[in-house]
């Protein structure tokens, strides 16, 4: 691969452990069933909590009568809106994001109105599941059913039912006088759009839609909460961020942060969906009232009805290019549905839509729209896959109209170092061109296709983030090390932290034990998300290792009685820096550790960081499909995912991320959708009819790692977890077009939709 290899690493220019593939530290426990997930936690005296959920998509809650349920023997506590503080409508910073605690509170427990099918209305804690269920049945809720709206474009209509009568669209001048479902409008622009389109020889404009899709994590949300008589609270849960759970519980319930300790369990998938709270504050409130620990576990049905998928979107994209193949102008209109409360990823969706390309004249406007569905949550590269599905579809069509190979056309316009992104900054070294080149040169890209088969290619962009992290390294008496960090391991990050710490300490990874700690045991660490952990927490671990190495050198200097400057650290050994420093045998970390008591006490260090300069991630995917023209069934025959990892710390887990993202993207492309009936009730709250791909639906996904080092990380690391879900939908759509001549603009491209489009002999959607 023609990528520059930067001289980086542990002093001698080469990396010894980073880039290798040892067994993951959490692997054996996970395959043997020993690992403890959210629902595996149990405490003495624990009660069972269950939720009563709204059967209506939109209804005023006139009254809630819990008296019969309270009278049932075995019922120990009930929580409704009356047991939660009323919180003002206000956006406040929480870590990297802004949150509105009023909305969050009303999402975990409905207040005036139930805003979606599955919205929590009351919770019960009882001595058994059977009693809790019975109590739920005894709660009487008087609903005044209101008209509802599910579709994002319908929700924007002037006569649509309004969810929140205090929502006046932000970002438009003047602020509207009537409330609507449009929470805000965002805009980005640079250059001169009219001039750009005037230069174009070919212009393509199309409208696309995507459906909300669920992350589909295997493990449903689960929590055990215990509020002590002294006000000290303990929470165990499956989450992507124990500090986030702590802050959210504290703010929703009016408890001091320092009085809550949150311990993350192992996590059976999150993909962004476990960056928010649903059960935790309610379980904690129940525990406060009952004086006993309370466990709550969602069923799969509850996960589908009440936890956040990502947005569905509606997009109109217009792009123009010269016959030579230069994109001269691009315009996007994008609306994302946020679910029942504002906060869709419309911002990132708008910022990413044209990011793979160097386009002089571009304009994007976006809308964040509320509808009667569960509030959306993050899902891998939130916002990017939706808008980039649309823009990549137009790019593919432009290439076809111009008679230019789609990889070639992308290369002619690809973003590179120095390209100014529509959202402001100039890119540093990025791997857009490198991934496109690797895809174009792959054997896959030039392998001949059979009848009814087609090939598609698409590129995707995601920012990646850095942010706040803390890591502590303790050197044990035998010279092994424990690295303590605060990021739940959803994607193999324990392995990547272990490898980076090992590299920086110069000892083999099996001598470094990574540990994900509770909030009381490690400094504040922003949640696992934004593909940040290997990058940011990895740097905290490297910094902590650097401090430990300093101490190890000092201890060796003390033992040898020479100045610390005369001690070098190499491959896990202290060595005299030269012959005039003295003649001493190299001393291992174990030897130094064994004498720590005599040389100044335990050896340990903590490092904190607010990491900046996460290198953006680009990926290019190539997909082959075969279409059954009589049934509309699409079989994915072959799939190659190429991605710039900066530096793949543990290549197997980087490949795993690429394969997982591609698999989820293929499901998003082909079959996944929420089906609501005319009353706004979810008809497919389970994996039987919410059709994620099963293993036999997919070919082996080939992963090709490209490494364009990120100069802002000592080993060149970029985040890798999110980019791979961005290109698949457009790659699959382009492959279907290539096979059939039909350009699908509405997701999912399910058999009935594709068959109908083929029978109509043309495009679907609103083009």
């Amino acid at each position: 691969m023609a990528t520059a290899k930067q001289e980086i690493g542990n002093g001698n220019g080469s990396l010894k452990y980073v880039g290798t593939r040892p067994w993951r530290p959490d692997g054996v426990d996970k395959v043997t069933g020993r690992a403890k997930f959210g629902a595996d936690i149990s405490l003495p005296g624990m009660l069972v909590g269950r939720m009563l959920r709204s059967p209506h998509a939109h209804a005023r809650i006139v009254s809630i009568d819990t008296s019969a349920a309270r009278a049932l023997p075995g019922v120990k506590a009930i929580v409704t809106r009356d047991e939660l503080p009323d919180i003002p409508n206000q956006w406040v910073p929480a870590g990297e994001v802004a949150v509105n605690y009023r909305d969050m509170s009303q999402n975990v427990m409905a207040r005036e109105k139930a805003l979606y099918d599955g919205h929590a209305v009351a919770a019960v804690a009882a001595t058994s599941t059977a009693i809790a269920k019975q109590a739920i049945d005894l709660i009487e809720v008087d609903y005044e059913v209101l008209p509802h709206v599910i579709d994002v474009r319908e929700a924007m209509e002037p006569d649509a039912p309004v969810l929140h009568d205090d929502m006046f669209t932000e970002g438009v001048e003047p602020t509207p006088e009537t409330p609507s479902n449009v929470f805000k409008k965002v805009e980005f622009a640079h250059g001169d759009l009219d001039a750009g389109f005037a230069q174009a020889d070919v212009i393509v404009e199309r409208t696309f839609t995507t459906k909300p899709v669920h992350q589909g994590y295997i493990e449903p949300h689960a929590v055990v909460a215990s509020a002590g008589e002294d006000g000290q609270c303990e929470v165990w849960c499956c989450t992507q961020g124990q500090f986030t759970v702590r802050a959210y519980c504290a703010n929703l319930l009016g408890i001091e942060i320092g009085k809550i300790n949150v311990t993350p369990s192992e996590i059976g998938g999150g993909f962004g969906g476990k960056t928010v709270v649903y059960l935790e504050p309610i379980a904690l409130r129940l525990s406060q009232l009952a004086g006993r620990p309370v466990k709550m576990v969602m069923s799969r049905e509850e996960v589908f009805r009440a936890s956040g998928p990502t947005s569905g979107g509606a997009m109109t994209i217009k792009m123009g290019a010269t016959k030579e193949g230069k994109i001269t102008a691009a315009k996007a209109w994008i609306a994302y549905q946020a679910g029942a409360f504002p906060g869709s990823p419309i911002g990132p969706g708008c910022m990413c839509v044209f990011a793979p390309y160097d386009i002089e004249n571009a304009e994007v406007e976006g809308y964040d729209v509320v509808v009667n569905r569960p509030k959306v949550a993050a899902y891998r590269a939130p916002g990017a896959p939706i808008s980039e599905f649309a823009s990549e579809g137009v790019v593919d069509e432009l290439a076809k109209k111009l008679g230019i190979d789609p990889a070639e056309f992308r290369l002619m316009n690809a973003a590179k170092e120095g390209t100014r992104a529509l959202y402001g900054p100039k890119f540093g070294p990025v791997g857009c061109i490198e991934t496109l080149e690797a895809a174009r040169q792959s054997e896959h890209y030039s392998t001949p296709l059979g009848p009814n088969q087609g090939r598609g290619i698409a590129t995707g962009f995601w920012f990646n983030i850095g942010g706040e992290s803390c890591a502590t390294i303790n050197v044990n008496e035998d010279g092994t090390a424990t690295v303590i960090e605060g990021n739940p391991d959803i994607g193999g990050s324990r392995a990547s932290i272990q490898l980076q710490a090992a590299e920086a300490l110069g000892i083999p990874p099996e001598r470094v034990r990574p540990l994900v700690a509770d909030t009381d045991s490690i400094g504040y660490t922003f949640l696992t998300g934004g593909s940040r952990v290997t990058f940011a927490t990895g740097m905290a671990a490297i910094d902590a290792a650097g401090k430990v190495v300093e101490q190890l050198r000092e201890r060796a200097a003390k033992i040898w009685d020479i100045p610390v400057e005369a001690v070098e650290w190499e491959d896990g050994y202290a060595k005299p820096s030269g012959s005039n420093a003295g003649d001493f045998e190299p001393m291992s970390m174990a030897e130094i550790a064994a004498q720590a008591g005599k040389t100044g006490g335990p050896i340990a260090a903590t490092a904190t960081i607010n990491a900046q300069g996460a290198g953006p991630g680009f990926g290019t995917h190539v997909c082959d499909v075969e279409v059954d023209r009589e049934t509309g069934r699409v079989t994915v025959l072959r799939y190659t995912a190429v991605q710039d990892a900066g530096k793949a710390v543990h290549p197997s887990y980087v490949e795993g991320q690429m394969q997982g993202g591609a698999a989820q993207g293929i499901g998003w492309a082909l079959n996944e959708e929420y089906i609501y009936d005319k009353d706004g009730r979810l008809e497919n709250p389970g994996f039987l009819d919410y059709r994620m791909p099963v293993a036999s639906d997919l070919p082996m996904i080939d992963a090709v790692i490209v490494e364009v080092p990120n100069p802002n990380h000592p080993y060149g690391v970029r985040g890798v977890g999110e980019t791979p879900i961005v290109p698949p939908m457009a790659a699959v759509a382009a492959a279907i077009e290539n096979a059939t001549g039909v350009r699908m603009t509405d997701l999912p491209m399910s058999p009935p939709r594709l068959l109908e489009a083929m029978d109509n002999g043309g495009a679907n959607g609103g083009a």
């Binding site: 049934t631 069934r633 497919n684 039987l688 009819d689 059709r691 058999p751 009935p752």
Partner: protein
Amino acid sequence: MSNLQFEAPETVEDAVRLLADADGEAKALAGGTDLLVQLRTDFVRPGLIVDLKRIPALMDVTANGEEIRVGAAVSGATLGKNEAVKAAWPGVVEALELIGSTQIQGRASLGGNLCNGSPAADSVPALIAAGAVCEIAGPAGSRSMPVEDVITGPGQLALGPGEIVVSFVMPKPPPRSGDAYLRFIPRTEMDIAVVGAGVALTLDEAGVCTHARLGLGAVAPTPLLVADGAEALIGTTVDDDALANLAAAASAACNPIDDKRGTIEYRVKVAGVLARRAALIALERARSNG
């Protein structure tokens, strides 16, 4: 809270008596792959569950010169290993084997698949095409009923209180016979048929079709026996015209609903496609069973 009783009798008579005499709702249990799911989601709340798997008549597979008898609770995994049944009615065995995954196959039965009453049950169109007849035992004695008459609506059966299906009886097919079952699902497994089509046919020495049956699933409130489908094939060499007529008959027989699993137009169209494709496989098998 009601208590759930469990019984595991060893004779048909005991099973029938337990089911017939129960106070509240009583449910027979074969593999439980439908029933347990329904219990856990509170879709059914029986007071009594009667396990049928200790009753030899429901767990046996026997074949003589004229007929093949498959116990109603025999699992897919067991039937899939039975060479005699596979040779005679490969389409029926394949249909049963399509159900679920390896784990589900260890339990799922023909009796459970039929008596769950789903119009989309995979083995049912194949059993209908094969001309299978149920042997039914009940408080009033035994009776027989063609498979196509058992399901009367979604979740509705022609069985009376206390009646159970003991076994399925299929004729031993004459030479030059073949059958096949195909279903359409958007995924490759772990899904419910959007359309299912079973075809069985017999050729004479000249290659002319002398007998044919077409069963369809998931396209109407009940699985269907499509008489016009058989007529499209009988007397032909199962050529393209005959297959087109078969497809048209299949589509014409459909009376589906629009639901989360497929639209009306889609089901009608795909029913014809699958009937034709299944007939081609059955034809191939018939030709090689000379």
